[in-house]
């Protein structure tokens, strides 16, 4: 089973994510997570392709995850923009 910290580490390592938020929404069984990711690798990519990057980064973990809800895939600039609003 995957833990929130496994998911966070995978996203930080494989997407060089500068900011990652992982919420375990499974009630403890580790099968359901919500994630928000900030990474340079999203630059110039549309939302579908950003989600594909996240899914690919978690390919190993996805074997035991039932539901992955991707709440945000931001570039660092988009994150800064949101914080300044």
């Amino acid at each position: 089973m995957a833990t929130a910290s496994d998911v966070e580490k995978a996203l930080r390592d494989r997407l060089q994510a500068s900011d990652v938020t992982v919420l375990d929404t499974s009630g403890g069984c580790g099968a359901s997570f919500e994630v928000a990711v900030v990474s340079d690798q999203f630059e110039g990519k549309k939302l579908l392709d950003r989600h594909k990057l996240v899914n690919a980064a978690l390919a190993e973990e996805m074997k035991s995850i039932h539901a992955l809800s991707i709440k945000k895939c931001w570039t660092p600039a988009q994150q800064a923009d949101a914080q300044n609003r």
Partner: protein, 130 residues
């Protein structure tokens, strides 16, 4: 519901086509391509539109109902070969999966975000007018 069940069963690969393995057989791939070509909007989901068996699938049904567009649903829980085959076909690990105009559009999160941004309405309008 009956119609969608019939169509889902049409998508089942012939027995033995996968030779015991789980994956995307050429027969299933051809059936999927045909089905997606014949229907502008297809939702591959858990359960049926009347009785979704997953909250994320239900969300997609609600969004498509809200958009008032014709769409087909396929219950991937009916057939394990279809379920595993669709993951490979779409290169997407989870359900629901939405196809618009023969292209994979996204899962539940993308449906929600594009619905809120107005992009979904544009894509659907373009698809239905094409």
């Amino acid at each position: 519901m009956r119609q969608s069940v019939v169509r889902a069963s049409n998508l089942q690969a012939p027995a033995g086509a996968t030779a015991g393995g789980i994956g995307l057989s050429p027969e299933l791939k051809a059936a999927l391509e045909k089905f997606i070509a014949e229907n502008k909007v297809v939702l591959f989901m858990k359960g049926t539109r009347q009785f979704p068996q997953c909250g994320f699938s239900n969300t997609c049904v609600q969004i498509l109902n809200q958009m008032s567009v014709p769409y087909e649903t396929v219950n991937i829980l009916e057939d394990e070969r279809l379920r595993s085959g669709m993951k490979e076909y779409s290169q997407w690990p989870t359900f629901p999966q939405v196809y618009i105009n023969q292209e994979f559009f996204g899962g539940c999160d993308i449906m929600i975000q594009s619905y809120q941004s107005g992009e979904l309405a544009e894509v659907l309008e373009a698809a239905l007018n094409s």
